[in-house]
């Protein structure tokens, strides 16, 4: 037992307030006669929404919040009673519970005027948004993103960019405002800045001891997900970068005695974030990088070409890239961040982030000798989780790492 104490970043503590403010912003928007959009969360077109005065909300985030608040059971029940199979995405089942009228945190999300799906991660992004459009009688705009099989070509980017222009036209109709392209460029510039700062924050984690762990990282990703394009996000990541770099300069790590450096793949099990504490406390094992949190901020943007840049960002996310790309990315992180092993969280109801895990594990072991462990449960539905089993599996994995 290492008995480490965690040093939570003060910037990470701020996030709770930011989350509350985010949901309040939507209520505020409606009271000011502005509109609210519910969007998918991976590379959403927030920049366009903000320029049009539309406040985005992210159902995926709402599902996380509901899970952390332990409010999901009734929501799942409501969805399942509606006929949604328990094998379907637990984010969907959680949020649909609220949409269908079940009691939910914060009194449910402020109702949308438009639904926007980026369809760049999973089929669920389409089906879930269709279900919400149907239940809420709300217009739906789907941005169809092709999978990247070789590399991102102009053929793909132009297609997505044209759809983003169509979205802007649609929003002009709904809001009665005109899109100011100069203002859009400015918002894209801010979004790019926030992403760059977030990348820099993650880069500092190369150092030992690692200044930021997975718990803080999972909180600190919130502004880049929810507020890309705002000044608040830029300022937030400036503060965070300052705090993280200061820690590195002073040799302060997230825990006292760092013994192992781990890489995380998959969506955190929001109902048992304590699993991460277990690794830190018992083994001095710190997550120095997460493929999940790094997903936001991976792409740079060119403000001179806002639509094309945003299109590129949508296409360029790890789930939309081929397995060969993912392998190369992981191998580079393992090397750059001195990673000892990888933990892959598989969620039975999230095929998009989990379906490749067994293959990734096999390729990493056979081609590069990188050890890893897969923990299978569900990211939101705690009924499919056994803490004892997850810990037992991690114990074995840590023994293997320790014996190396």
């Amino acid at each position: 037992m290492s008995g480490s104490t965690r040093r939570t970043l003060s910037s990470a503590k701020e996030v709770t307030d930011l989350v509350v403010a985010h949901y309040m912003n939507a209520i505020q928007a409606h009271s000011e006669g502005r509109h609210v959009a519910w969007s998918t969360a991976v590379a959403p077109p927030s920049e366009i929404l903000y320029v049009m005065g539309v406040q985005p909300l992210f159902p995926e985030n709402y599902a996380c919040v509901s899970t952390v608040m332990k409010a999901t059971r009734k929501m799942f029940d409501a969805s399942e009673a509606h006929g949604l199979s328990r094998d379907l995405c637990s984010y969907t089942r959680c949020v649909m519970g609220s949409v269908l009228g079940c009691e939910a945190p914060l009194g449910g999300m402020e109702k949308p005027d438009i639904l926007v799906s980026t369809k760049n991660v999973c089929l669920t992004y389409l089906k879930w948004w269709q279900l919400m459009a149907n239940a809420l009688k709300c217009p739906l705009y789907v941005i169809d993103c092709p999978r990247v099989t070789e590399e991102i070509e102009e053929f793909h980017v132009k297609y997505v960019a044209r759809q983003l222009r169509d979205l802007a036209l649609e929003l002009e109709k709904i809001t009665g405002r005109n899109l100011n392209e100069e203002k859009l460029k400015e918002v894209v510039r801010r979004s790019d800045k926030a992403a760059e700062l977030w990348r820099k924050v993650l880069e500092w984690r190369r150092f030992k001891p690692c200044p930021m762990g997975v718990t803080d990282s999972s909180a600190a990703m919130f502004p880049i997900v929810a507020s890309a394009g705002t000044m608040e996000a830029v300022e937030y990541y400036e503060r965070l970068l300052g705090e993280v770099s200061e820690r590195v300069k002073n040799g302060v790590g997230v825990i006292e005695d760092e013994k192992f450096r781990l890489l995380l793949s998959g969506i955190p099990f929001w109902h048992h974030l304590s699993l991460f504490n277990y690794l830190e406390d018992r083994y001095g094992a710190v997550f120095v990088y997460e493929l999940y949190t790094a997903t936001w901020g991976i792409a740079g943007l060119n403000p001179a070409k806002p639509f094309e840049s945003l299109a590129f960002k949508m296409l360029y996310n790890p789930v939309n890239m081929p397995q060969t790309w993912l392998e190369e990315w992981v191998v580079k992180i393992v090397k750059d961040f001195n990673v000892d092993g990888m933990v892959l969280l598989s969620s039975r109801s999230c095929k998009a982030t989990s379906i490749g895990n067994i293959a990734v594990q096999k390729f990493l072991r056979e081609k590069y000798g990188i050890p890893s462990v897969i923990i299978e449960a569900d990211h939101t539905d705690d009924r499919a989780y056994s803490d004892a089993q997850a810990k037992a599996k991690l114990d074995v994995f840590m023994e293997i790492l320790g014996a190396k």
């Binding site: 379907l88 169509d166 998009a352 379906i355």
Partner: protein, 371 residues
């Protein structure tokens, strides 16, 4: 149920599909392309003088695929991988898949990473139905054509494409004529048999299939014994590659009179019928199919609802493999819409090996209720 006579030939063709394909390949010296045929424009493959065949994912155990795909990916793609790794598909030269769902994408990605002998090509299938998406899909199909040209080492002319369209549309017309007979008070063909006819169309060279279909249409009404069943059902779902799944339903005293399946009416209901640019005409046909992959709920409901009326359907069985997200997502909406139209439905999830007794009990209870 009597499955003898002309219909038997189609069942055999499907059951013998591997030897039919191997024999075709040996004789022609040409290549074979495994497809999810309902969404991959087969006309292009045919115009390249190749044989497109529907891939089959039914296996009863996963010895090899488990090393790559988890239990919660759909058993169709897991099963297909199992067959590929088990060298059961050695006659395929290429696999062409539409980007329909996450299990297909997972499979594609893994198969690519394995650097296999059998190449794989992914066609983007759009997830919305705008003009923009429709135009883009034309581009996707054009690229597929260019790929096939390189793969075949020959140009595909508009004339080749028109010839392919003609052969395929003829097959579609013939299949529709067969389905027409199922509208009758007493249909001459069962749901199991109809499935076998469609499945064999997806795996047999089309010219041969057209010839056999014409013969069948000339004789089917003369058959001695018509299938029995006093409740008219429709089955809705994805690919059903094992007629036993439908046999379980028909053994409950019902008769399947139509369907909304990838291996059923959706495979042939709409014709290309194009006079304009052939690539555009072909693309449009595939783009407009009512499916869970980008159609609105309204489009799917309309298709189902028309089927129900035309075939005087009394009840619907929604069939889905476990973990098949697209169909599981649509079920609550379609089921509710049909209920509002006064058509009861049953959701039947299944997996191989089939739990026949349990499935039969559920269908029997449903049929009882409809009687």
């Amino acid at each position: 149920m009597n499955e003898s006579g002309e219909v038997k030939r189609f069942q055999e063709l499907f059951e013998m599909r591997d030897s039919v394909a191997t024999e075709w390949k040996r004789k022609s010296g040409k290549k074979i392309v495994g497809c999810i045929s309902t969404y991959v424009p087969e006309e292009i493959v045919y115009a390249a003088e190749f044989l497109p065949v529907e891939i089959i994912g039914k296996v009863e155990a996963f010895a090899k695929a488990d090393a790559y795909l988890p239990s919660f990916s759909c058993s169709f793609m897991r099963g297909f991988l199992e067959k590929l790794l088990g060298k059961e598909y050695e006659y395929l030269d290429l696999v062409a898949l539409p980007s329909l769902c996450d299990s297909i994408w997972g499979f594609y990605s893994i198969w690519r990473a394995l650097s296999p002998d059998i190449r794989i090509y992914l066609l983007h299938y759009p997830s919305q139905r705008s003009k923009e998406a429709s135009n883009y899909f034309v581009g996707v199909v054009e690229r597929f054509k260019s790929f096939m040209e390189r793969f075949a080492g020959k140009d595909i002319s508009d004339r080749d494409l028109r010839a392919a369209m003609e052969v395929y549309d003829e097959n579609r017309r013939l299949l529709k004529s067969l389905y027409e007979l199922r509208k009758k008070e007493s249909p001459p063909i069962s749901g199991v048999e109809a499935l076998e006819v469609v499945l064999s169309s997806m795996t047999t060279p089309k010219l041969l299939h057209n010839r056999l279909l014409k013969k069948l249409l000339g004789e089917i009404e003369e058959r001695e014994e018509y299938p029995k069943g006093d409740v008219r059902l429709l089955v809705s779902g994805h690919v059903i590659e094992d007629p036993d799944v439908l046999r379980v339903i028909e053994n409950s005293g019902s008769l399947l009179v139509s369907d909304d399946l990838d291996t059923g009416s959706r495979y042939f209901w709409f014709l290309v019928d194009g006079v304009a640019n052939p690539i555009e005409a072909i693309s449009k046909r595939y783009f407009e199919l009512p499916s869970p992959y980008g159609s609105s709920f309204a489009d799917r409901i309309k298709y189902l609802s028309d089927m129900v009326k035309e075939f005087r359907v009394e009840g619907i069985v929604f069939l889905t493999r476990k973990f098949c997200d697209p169909y599981l997502f649509d079920y609550p909406i379609l089921g509710q819409a049909m209920k509002e139209e006064g058509v009861p439905s049953l959701l039947l999830e299944y997996e191989y090996p089939l739990a026949k007794a349990a499935l039969k009990t559920r269908v029997e209870a449903f049929v009882e209720m409809l009687r």
